[in-house]
């Protein structure tokens, strides 16, 4: 049995020579971790939030998304509407980043339709869904309503979106609707760090205190109105 200290045989330095960056969690090669690793408290290279400032949507697309989003989360006395809350800017940045490219999705073929239980089998990325989905939406609306989506009355907009939600615009229309609904909620309730939830409007609406990390005092007051003002990782206003 080989009980000798492997590190002295193939030491840290020697192995790290394979990983020229020299950092412990080097992306190159396999990262050797040893007794020194745990004393390293520097943030990892990818520890900070993945903020993207780029844009993907065209101005016309943004205007259309804005019209849709403001029906999904309209303004009222309680809180801002989606576009005022920054949900369109939020979406635009998300699309410009790795999420827009479906970076985590399994994208190998063959692509086959499958059963409902097998879920979305399409090859589309979110970018592709938005580009083609917005185009289809506008074309259909112009055909049936005689005007673009942003130009029709709010009640007509709602009816149009209800059809989409119910699948009456086909499976791609339904899938695109679901994606927009999920994204507008994300923009409305994610940390303002990502460009939406302006002034923490979404959090104020429901009474979520945001990025707090300690409720040891509050748990002793079950059912109480705690009156906690929200805080964010970034926005303290």
């Amino acid at each position: 049995m080989n009980r000798k200290n492997e590190k002295s045989a193939l030491g840290r330095r020697k192995f790290l020579a394979l990983a020229p960056t020299g950092a412990v969690a080097a992306a190159a090669g396999a990262a050797l971790l040893d007794s020194e690793t745990r004393h390293d408290t520097r943030l990892s290279q990818d520890a900070l939030p993945p903020l993207v400032a780029d844009s993907y949507l065209t101005d016309a697309e943004k205007a259309l998304v804005s019209a849709v989003f403001d029906r999904l989360i309209p303004a009222d006395d309680a809180a801002l509407g989606a576009s005022d809350a920054g949900c369109v800017a939020f979406l635009d940045r998300q699309l410009a980043g790795p999420w827009g490219l479906a970076a985590t999705r399994y994208r190998a073929g063959p692509f086959k339709p499958g059963t409902p239980e097998q879920g979305d089998q399409s090859p589309f990325t979110p970018r592709e869904r938005y580009r083609s989905g917005l185009k289809a939406l506008e074309t259909r609306c112009t055909k049936s309503e005689g005007k673009g989506f942003a130009q029709i009355a709010p009640e007509r907009q709602d009816a149009f979106l209800q059809d989409m939600e119910a699948g009456r615009h086909g499976p791609d229309g339904k899938a695109f609707f679901e994606m927009m609904l999920q994204n507008v909620r994300e923009g409305y309730f994610a940390d303002p760090l990502y460009g939406g939830n302006k002034g923490m409007t979404g959090w104020k609406l429901v009474g979520f205190p945001g990025a707090r990390y300690d409720y040891r005092a509050e748990i002793d007051r079950p059912g109480a109105d705690l009156g906690l003002a929200p805080i964010s990782l970034m926005d303290r206003g």
Binding site: D76, D214, G223
Partner: protein
């Protein structure tokens, strides 16, 4: 880079460094063995990767699952029955794989259960009490080859390493107030006291007590006070931050390999971690009776051989099965003939319950922790008479307070409310504070039509076949889910809910996008009979004596509980078997 390079031989190579791998590595290195751990994810730790400055970010960690293994790296293919063609599960789903040093134990919720003693002996106990005729045809009810009492010392050790909070209900043979009276007898109290109640937990506790049930605080890997574990590692108290399951803990309060094991382990000279190293398979000696080591691929695409005297797969449930199949260890399950063992005994968790809406409440759901909850076990395991019910097993019925994160809760509005628009907005503003859930976490039993094997079509990024899962609920599980769902509804009524919306995952066909549970189990199960199990009680493969496998894949059936304390106990038991027996004999630890 081309060609395969060879590393120096190790005594032991561990594949996957989550709870299972790190617990085994701790035992084996302490016993003096030279251990190399290969982990395909990155090194992740509290200060470097999820300190409070960046941790409270729902979009990043929960919605986008920043800590989990992307499907682009590996997924499964899925179908409900063998007549269908399996297709890849392309998006985030119920298989929420760990993907870093620490595995899923970094971002788990922390419910730290011991299985009920009955769960380990369902084969013989069901026959004794109800007879074979009572059960659904095709069920594969079998004993584990190890009993609760035999595992008790290892559960005890796991809890002490983890700092588990809770109140004993059955201590050294006597039943204690406030704990779970149905649990197997414990040799000691929980390391740290039970967590506190939120408003909703208090209501559930009061209601179920009045109904004659036996509520208790769920044992939690969210520890309630400071704790120094047997490895000399110190933890701090949970702050009920509500960014727990799917998140790392920035407080050193959540039991995890990082918080509890790795600080002791990484200081040892005979322990090496290679992160970002993905194992492709084990290589067998010519006679097929032993393994020579494993082949892995590093982040540059370089292939390496890691020779070792002992190979241990601790790559979670799916990947343990897959690695066995890719390494050609053990006979694959053949659905047609019902023979073979690798891929047999796959099970899941059967979930039902009720969503409740109250007129006038203030639950403050953001006060939460991953394992914060109250449960009754009156309808779990065999704690009630099943005669005439048409099923065996049951569910833990719980009221939890895990979190109030607003993206994830946005559908928590009464049925019939639009999902968007002004009405939704108003409804959500109210129900955010007034809705609660009763959640039944139920048993799941293996069935001859449910199994895992290698997919004939789809591959991972290295060109290796994905694991193909053929799963649907069986009649036994469907009946159980319905029965316990009705109990949840009764409790909801008594608690004063003005609206009760029952749910039952097992009502229709299963889909991996129903994400009420992540707990898939089985597929490389332990047992006493090589014809129906891939491993003996130590997790040693029957056919290749220097290959051991530990994970939820080892369970012949799933209990009405989360899996990890049982996985931890099996890992420690496996390590003791290696140290105390295998090092001397170098052969099968149990006669086939």
């Amino acid at each position: 880079m081309s060609g395969t390079k060879t590393r120096e031989k190790a005594d032991v190579v561990i594949v996957g460094l989550g709870w299972s791998g790190s617990l085994i590595a701790e035992e084996l290195t302490r016993a003096g063995l030279n251990v190399v751990a290969l982990e395909r994810g990155k090194w992740r730790d509290t200060a470097t990767d999820f300190p409070p400055a960046i941790d409270m970010d729902e979009l990043r960690w929960a919605t986008r699952r920043g800590m989990m293994q992307p499907q682009a790296v590996e997924t499964v293919t899925f179908r409900n029955n063998s007549e269908q063609e399996a297709l890849p599960v392309r998006e985030w789903n119920c298989f929420q794989f760990g993907w870093n040093v620490g595995g899923a134990g970094t971002h788990w919720a922390g419910m730290t259960w011991r299985f009920n003693p009955w769960d380990f002996e369902v084969g013989s106990k069901v026959r004794q009490r109800y007879g074979q005729a009572e059960t659904t045809p095709g069920l594969q009810l079998q004993d584990w080859g190890i009993t609760y009492d035999e595992l008790e010392p290892y559960y005890d050790r796991f809890e002490k390493i983890a700092g588990t909070s809770g109140t004993a209900g059955h201590l050294n043979g006597s039943i204690k107030p406030h704990g779970n009276p149905f649990e197997g007898s414990r040799s000691s109290e929980y390391p740290t006291p039970a967590l506190k109640d939120t408003r909703w937990m208090g209501m559930f506790r009061e209601t179920t007590t009045a109904m004659g049930y036996h509520p208790f605080t769920i044992p939690a890997g969210n520890i309630s006070s400071e704790w120094t574990n047997p490895l000399g590692v110190r933890m701090g108290p949970c702050t009920y931050c509500g960014y727990c399951e799917m998140f790392g803990c920035g407080n050193w309060s959540k039991s995890s390999p990082q918080a509890c094991v790795l600080p002791a382990l990484t200081g040892r000279d005979n322990f090496t971690i290679l992160a970002e190293a993905e194992v492709l398979h084990a290589t067998l000696a010519e006679d097929g009776k032993t393994a020579k080591g494993v082949v892995f691929i590093d982040a540059n695409g370089q292939r390496w051989e890691q020779p070792a005297d002992i190979v241990i797969f601790t790559a979670y449930q799916i990947d343990n099965i897959r690695l066995l199949l890719l390494s050609k260890i053990g006979k694959p399950y053949d659905h047609k003939t019902g023979t073979g063992v690798v891929g047999r005994g796959y099970a899941y968790q059967t979930i039902s319950g009720a969503n409740l809406f109250f007129d006038d409440e203030r639950f403050n759901p953001f006060i939460g922790a991953g394992a914060l909850g109250v449960q009754i076990d009156d309808y779990n395991a065999d704690n009630f008479d099943h005669a005439g019910l048409g099923f065996v097993g049951g569910a833990g019925i719980m009221a939890f307070s895990t979190n109030g994160r607003p993206i994830g809760m946005a559908d928590s509005v009464p049925q019939g409310t639009p999902r968007w628009g002004a009405k939704w907005k108003q409804a959500y503003a109210k129900s955010y504070q007034t809705s609660a859930t009763i959640f039944n976490q139920g048993t799941s039993f293996a069935h001859r039509d449910v199994f895992a094997d290698l997919d004939p079509t789809y591959t991972d990024r290295h060109g290796q076949p994905l694991l193909r899962v053929t799963f649907d609920y069986n009649e036994n599980d469907r009946r159980m889910a319905k029965y316990t769902m009705d109990k949840a509804v009764e409790i909801g009524k008594k608690a004063g809910a003005s609206r009760i919306e029952p749910f039952n995952s097992a009502e229709g066909a299963n889909t991996p996008y129903d994400q009420r549970s992540t707990h898939t189990t089985g597929g490389a199960v332990i047992g006493a009979d090589p014809a129906t199990s891939a491993l003996n009680r130590y997790g040693q493969t029957w056919d290749v004596h220097n290959v051991f496998v530990v994970g939820a894949s080892s369970f012949p059936n799933n209990g009405g509980y989360n899996p990890t304390a049982t996985v931890g106990a099996l890992a420690l038991y496996c390590a003791r078997g290696i140290i105390e027996k295998y090092l001397d004999t170098r052969g099968p630890l149990v006669e086939a």
